[in-house]
């Protein structure tokens, strides 16, 4: 059994520590927001936060998250930054098919935690390891920027 904290709750998984975290999340825990896109750390669809740091869950060994804190897009609505991102993405009609978004939103959560007021160029740079095929990039950048503004207004 490997246990870790997932979106604020302790979970246990009966699976080899060599298996990637992605399969523990989807197959064992039924948390479907984290997605398989390439299995090679090349597209970012599977990005989650481990102790606040963006990681590719498609290759990250499960043993690496033992007793660690994992955040996935399933838990976005449970925190302040995630809620702001969801509202901002709706307001900006950000995203097209949505397959890349859960990874991007986790990356954005890490970005806004560290840089509460990023410029558009800083957002684009932070997202450069994430692929989007629909060409939804401009709306995604606007969505993250809008969330940052909402959060800074709320903090004042």
């Amino acid at each position: 059994m490997i246990s870790f904290t997932l979106n604020g709750k302790t979970v246990q998984v009966d699976r080899s520590g060599d298996d990637p975290l992605l399969y523990a999340l989807r197959s064992d825990l039924g948390r479907m927001a984290t997605r398989f896109g390439c299995g090679q750390e090349q597209c970012g669809a599977c990005v989650v936060l481990v102790s606040g740091t963006p990681r590719y869950s498609c290759t990250l060994p499960l043993s690496d998250v033992e007793d660690a804190t994992v955040a996935t897009a399933d838990g976005l609505a449970d925190n302040r930054i995630g809620t702001a991102l969801i509202h901002a993405f709706e307001a900006e009609n950000a995203g097209q098919c949505g397959f890349c978004l859960s990874g991007i939103l986790m990356r954005a959560t890490a970005l806004l935690t560290e840089h509460p007021a990023p410029t558009d160029d800083q957002i684009a740079e932070a997202l450069d390891d994430h692929l989007c095929r629909c060409g939804a990039h401009p709306g995604i950048i606007k969505g993250i920027s809008r969330a940052a503004r909402t959060l800074s207004e709320g903090a004042r």
Binding site: M32, F89, G98, C132, H137
Partner: protein, 695 residues
């Protein structure tokens, strides 16, 4: 009204489009499918308008061959026109029928009843009646006649948030996320080359190394099956240790091709020999292009001994149903295909192939639900890819600087090998089951349906033209429809040639186009984009910076789009800015249209600068995002888009408007920046270096 949308001719009854059995909600049925383009939101908006209800009451259902109107495939940017047109009329008639039922129940004249968000009012006062309480009074089998005018548009033209999106990134919602109790996970070992022969499977090795994984083999079709997805994935990664193929040399022979098509506009040879005229010849090309969906194809299926149910993200569930049935020797009625949302779809990708994959494995394992997931490499190279093609243009410029003859020869791989096309199954695993299933004929989509290789091959200009479109079936690479089909390269070729001819005439590219263009809406988008970008005659760059312009009317009968591109070129091409002006008639959902236009422009920028599917010995090698790179966040152009909206004009799909003009505007800008023209796509770093070094 006689001019009903096609869908209402095949599915006429009101009840085929909507029902009111769920209290407070309207179940909306459409044969069109969500491909990530937001079509369900747009159609729900139309229904809400017609019924006069809040958008939140409309529950659009995924298409299902057992339950939905058969509206054919979701292709060609026609969904809003065809399905939306049907829903608009069906909703208006449904509301009228419900109001009549209310008047009868209340025993008052019709003009004293009205509805507000599904509740019935008499003289403006509540009555306790609702659409739901009255639903049983209406004969839903009555046909939609188109005689009833709809409610005033309140939502059409606005942009509510997508109804499907938030759920997708915070949880399930994609087919990839569906779970059926007890389902087994499946990976397909694809033939490494077209019609490759499966020689041997070392099952002893597999049993030893991967005891939780079993094999299903039929002819050259090979599947790995297991309860744990990652266990199957691990076995798959060692496939070359237990599977032996031979490359099937001699099994595949090129299919026959239909006769070339010829299109003539005016007398295209008249000006050829005039004194003082100049001749121009150039050839343009593009390679095969991958669809590159971020979520690799996925399907689920179960066979109960009588019926086979398949969930997949196909663009054409009715066509796929027929070919699955044919492939497995079942009656069509024994197969049910249900659409489930996939990642972004830009044409005929692996979505149909994976549906058959799941069907084959489920059919062989009665009562056992299965889920098939494709790999990244298969998604890039084993589904159909967008067709490689070329276009040669020979034109004459008169002494007065006008185009007096224009001869265009298009040669293209097939843009049309969807399931059932030309009478063939056209699914990759059908060929693994029996090499005789490989198609033996390639024909184009008829020009009256928008054409395939011929799409946009006739230039939307006034000069006389002679256009020949031939199909080239010599490559074993499977090709089919990718966003805009041949419009991408045909418009690239035409609009590149227009720039080259403008140079030959010593004219400004914008003025030269307007000189040959009488279509008023094409002129309008072109002049507006020039204004928007601040087009200045004679200032087109050089020394590594360039500006280009292009225009087209999609399919010569759809929406109009003009583009201006600014580029910087050193060792690579960077598109710095794009200005786009589109006339797509009435906009149902402006934000949706904008995301189609901007998203299309970004995808086209990626195709134009980077993308080519490698072909080695006639086959596509294993691919990933490093060997097939696409445009990244840091490489985005800044985009400004404007729509010319005249609500009097009917809505036209905008999803495929940018592929031609944006590619051409970039190509024209690069030619200005370099002082030399690159006529073969992509305008990649490798191509650029090769050209610069050959000087």
């Amino acid at each position: 009204m006689t001019d009903l949308p096609m869908s209402l001719k095949t599915s006429p009854a009101m009840g085929q489009w909507m029902s009111f059995e769920q209290q407070g909600f309207v179940t909306l049925r459409t044969g069109k499918v969500e491909l990530g383009q937001g079509i369900l939101t747009a159609l729900a908006q139309i229904a809400a308008d017609g019924l006069g209800t809040d958008l939140g009451r409309i529950l659009p259902q995924s298409a299902d061959t057992d339950l939905s109107p058969n509206e054919g495939m979701t292709v060609g940017s026609l969904s809003v026109e065809v399905s939306g047109g049907s829903i608009r009329l069906a909703a208006a008639q449904a509301r009228a029928a419900l109001l009549r039922a209310a008047a009868q129940r209340l025993d008052v004249p019709l003009d004293r009843v009205s509805s507000e968000d599904g509740t019935i009012l008499k003289d403006g006062e509540p009555t306790g009646l609702t659409f739901w309480s009255l639903s049983g009074d209406v004969d839903w089998s009555l046909p939609v006649t188109g005689d009833v005018a709809g409610a005033p548009n309140s939502l059409v033209g606005s942009s509510p948030p997508r109804i499907d999106l938030a759920a997708k990134y915070t949880g399930g919602g994609f087919i990839h996320d569906m779970v059926i109790d007890g389902m087994q996970h499946v990976r397909i070992l694809r033939q490494p080359s077209r019609l490759a022969r499966l020689v041997a499977v070392d099952e002893a090795f597999l049993t030893r190394r991967h005891p939780a994984v079993s094999v299903y083999r039929k002819a050259d079709f090979l599947a790995l099956i297991g309860a744990d997805e990652y266990a199957v994935e691990k076995a798959m990664s060692e496939a070359d240790r237990f599977v032996t193929w031979d490359n099937g040399t001699g099994r595949w022979t090129p299919p026959e091709t239909a006769e070339p098509e010829v299109f003539v506009q005016g007398d295209a040879t008249a000006g050829a020999a005039e004194a003082g005229s100049k001749t121009f010849v150039a050839r343009y090309s593009r390679p095969n292009i991958a669809h590159g969906s971020i979520g690799p194809s996925c399907a689920l299926a179960v066979y109960d001994g009588d019926r086979l149910t398949v969930w997949c993200h196909s663009q054409g569930i009715f066509e796929l149903r027929a070919e699955i049935a044919r492939c497995l020797s079942l009656e069509t009625s024994q197969v049910r295909v249900i659409h489930a949302h996939g990642a972004g779809c830009y044409g005929h990708n692996g979505a149909d192939d994976v549906g058959l994959d799941a069907a084959i494995v489920a059919f062989a394992h009665q009562g056992q639900p299965v889920r098939v997931q494709w790999s990244r490499s298969d998604e890039l190279g084993r589904g159909p890819v967008g067709a490689a093609m070329s276009a040669r243009i020979e034109a004459t410029l008169s002494a007065e600087g006008r185009i007096s003859s224009w001869n265009m020869e298009v040669s293209s791989a097939s843009h049309l090998q969807r399931p059932g096309a030309n009478g063939y199954i056209n699914l990759t695993s059908a060929e693994a089951l029996d090499p005789d299933n490989a198609p033996k004929l390639i024909a184009d989509l008829p020009a009256m349906r928008g054409g395939g290789a011929s799409r946009n091959s006739v230039a939307n200009y006034d000069f006389p033209q002679h256009v020949t479109v031939s199909l080239d079936a010599s490559s074993p690479v499977r090709t089919s429809s990718l966003r805009s089909l041949a419009a991408n390269l045909n418009v690239f070729a035409i609009e590149s040639a227009m720039d080259e001819l403008a140079d030959l005439a010593g004219a400004d590219p914008l003025a030269f186009r307007l000189d040959h263009l009488s279509d008023p809406r094409a002129r309008a988008v072109l002049t507006e984009v020039a204004d928007l970008a601040g087009w200045t005659k004679g200032e087109l760059g050089g020394d590594g910076e360039g500006r280009g312009i292009a225009v087209a009317r999609y399919k010569n009968k759809g929406c109009w789009l003009a583009a201006v591109a600014d580029v910087e070129v050193d060792e690579t091409v960077r598109v710095k800015r794009l200005w786009l002006v589109c006339d797509a008639g009435l906009l149902i959902n402006p934000a949706g249209a904008l995301s189609q236009i901007e998203g299309g422009a970004i995808q086209t920028t990626s195709w134009t600068l980077k993308e080519a599917v490698p072909v080695e010995d006639g086959q596509i090698p294993a691919l990933d995002w490093e060997s097939y790179p696409i445009l990244r966040f840091s490489e985005l152009p800044r985009i400004e888009t404007r729509f010319i909206v005249n609500p009097e004009n009917p809505p036209l799909g905008a999803g495929e408007a940018t592929q031609g003009p944006v590619a051409a505007a970039i190509g024209n800008a690069v030619a200005r920046a370099l002082g030399q023209r690159m006529r073969d796509l992509p305008l990649s770093r490798d191509r650029l270096m090769a050209m610069l070094l050959s000087d």
